[in-house]
Symmetry: D2
C-alpha cells in the first residue's frame, strides 16, 4: 500500500523565467515541498535539529508535458514507491485541473552526518519506516490497532 | 563527433541549504548554465530577442555521487549526445579536482511560441544544427571553409 | 485607510542556506508573494496576459531582527502606505508567533512595456487605484453599491 | 581608504522572470557574491568550516534604475563603507557598460553561533578587520611590514 500525499500550490512570480513559464528546476523544489509535507503528515520533520541523520538526494528526474505559468494553481502528488534498507524512492505527478503537467522521481539515502566527517550511508531507523508507511493512515480510520 | 563545452564555476553561498551542501535543484541550473555557454560558444543565444523559437526542457535528470559546498570550485561538462529532428539531448558531468560529483541528462525541444497560442513543436533550423555541431570548431583551426 | 493583507507561510527547505537559516534574499520574495496575494484579494493579477502594463520594483529594503528556520510558520503583513501618480509604496512586517522578525519596504512603478521599446513610466489606471484602495473591502460588508 | 572589489558577471537564464528581466531579489544575491569575493580577495572565507563566527545580514536595500536581461554582462562594485565594533556596512553599485543599473547597501553583524543557542553579537576579531582593510593591499606593494 503505497503512502502518498497531495499538496496544493500556486505559482509565485519569482518561480517564472523569461520564457514566461516556471523554470524547469523549480519542479524539483515542488517535489521536495510535497515530500516534506508527507513527512510532516507522518508526524516527522525530515531535517530535525539535534539529529545526525540526513537524507541527501541520490537521484532525481522529471519529464515535462505542459508548462506552468504565474498564479496557476496546481497539485503535487508525491508517492513512496519503495523503502529499501538505506534508500527511499518516490514518484511524483504534477497536475492542473486534472491535466498531467509533469512526472518526476526521486531517490533519497539515509546517512549519518558527523562534524568533519564525510556523510556515511546507514539503515533507515524502523520507526521512520513505520511512520512513513502509514501508521498514521490507520489512525485516521479511528482503528484501535493502528 | 560530439560537441561539448566545459564551464568552470564556484559555489555561491545562496546555492547551499541548511544541510550545508548545494541544494540538489541547483545542479539543474548548473547544467543549464553550461548549455547556454555552449550555445554562446557556437555563436548563438538560446533566448534571442525577436525570435519566436523557444527551447523548453522536456526531460532532465541527475544522479548525485558527492556533495558540493560553499566556495568549492568545480567543472561542468556538457555534451550534445544527439540532435534529432525536433529535439536535442545532452549529457552532463560535474567534477571537482577530477572527482566525479554528479551525472546529468537533459532533453530540450524546439518549439514555436506565438502570442496567445500554445507552444508547438517544430523542426530545428539547419543553421542551428550546423552551429551546434561545430562549424565553429573548424574555424578554430583557421580553416578557410568554416 | 491603508489597505493591507496577511499571508501565512511555512519555510521551505530550499529557502535555507548553509548558516541554517533562511537566506536574506528570500525575504524579498516573501514580501512579493504577499503583495501579489493582496492584488488577487483586490480582484486583480499584477501580471496579466495581454496587458502592456508592468510593475517593476524601483526600491526595496529589509531590516532583519531574528532568523527564520526550516519549517517555521510565519506571517507576512503587507500594507499599502502610499499610492502616488505613478508609484505605489508598501511596508511589510514578518512575524512568527507575534514576534517581529523583519521589517521591509518596497516601491513599485507603473510602466508601459512595448516590444522592442524601453519601459516607460505611466500613471496608474484609476480602476487599479480603486481596487487596491478597497472597493472590495466595501463589498465584504454586503454593500449594494460596492 | 575604503576597500572595494569589482566582480564581473553574466546574467543566467534562471535569474530572469516572466517580465523578461532579472528578478529584483537577485540583486541581493549579486551583492553577496561580490562581498564574498572581496573576502576571498582579503585571504578569507566568510563561512569557514570549524569556526563559530557567523555574519548574518541585519539590513539590505537596493534602488533600481535600469533592468538587466538574459546574458547581459555587468559589473558589481562592493565597497566597505564602515567597520564598527560589531558590524560592517557596505555599499554596492551595479553597472553595465559604465551605465549605473542599481545602487545597494548592506550591513552585516559579527555573531557567535553555538549549537542550540541563539546567535549572539560579538566584536569583530582584529585580524579580520586588518585583512578587510587591506593589509593585503600593502603586501601587494611588497611592503616588508604588511
Amino acid at each position: 500500500m503505497p503512502r502518498e500525499f497531495r499538496l496544493k500550490r500556486r505559482v509565485n512570480f519569482y518561480e517564472t523565467d523569461a520564457a514566461g513559464i516556471v523554470h524547469f528546476s523549480m519542479f524539483f523544489r515542488y517535489m521536495e515541498e510535497a515530500e516534506h509535507a508527507l513527512w510532516r503528515d507522518s508526524g516527522m520533520s525530515i531535517s530535525k535539529a539535534g539529529t545526525d541523520l540526513g537524507w541527501p538526494r541520490v537521484g532525481a528526474s522529471f519529464a515535462y508535458f505542459r508548462p506552468l505559468r504565474f498564479e496557476d494553481e496546481f497539485e503535487i502528488l508525491i508517492r513512496i514507491e519503495e523503502i529499501a534498507e538505506k534508500r527511499i524512492r518516490y514518484s511524483c505527478t504534477l497536475t492542473r485541473d486534472g491535466e498531467k503537467l509533469a512526472e518526476g522521481a526521486m531517490t533519497i539515502a539515509c546517512v549519518l552526518r558527523r562534524p568533519n566527517e564525510p556523510m556515511k550511508s546507514t539503515p533507515i531507523p524502523p520507526d521512520v519506516v513505520a511512520r512513513l508507511l502509514g501508521a498514521k493512515d490507520g489512525s485516521r480510520d479511528g482503528s484501535p490497532h493502528a
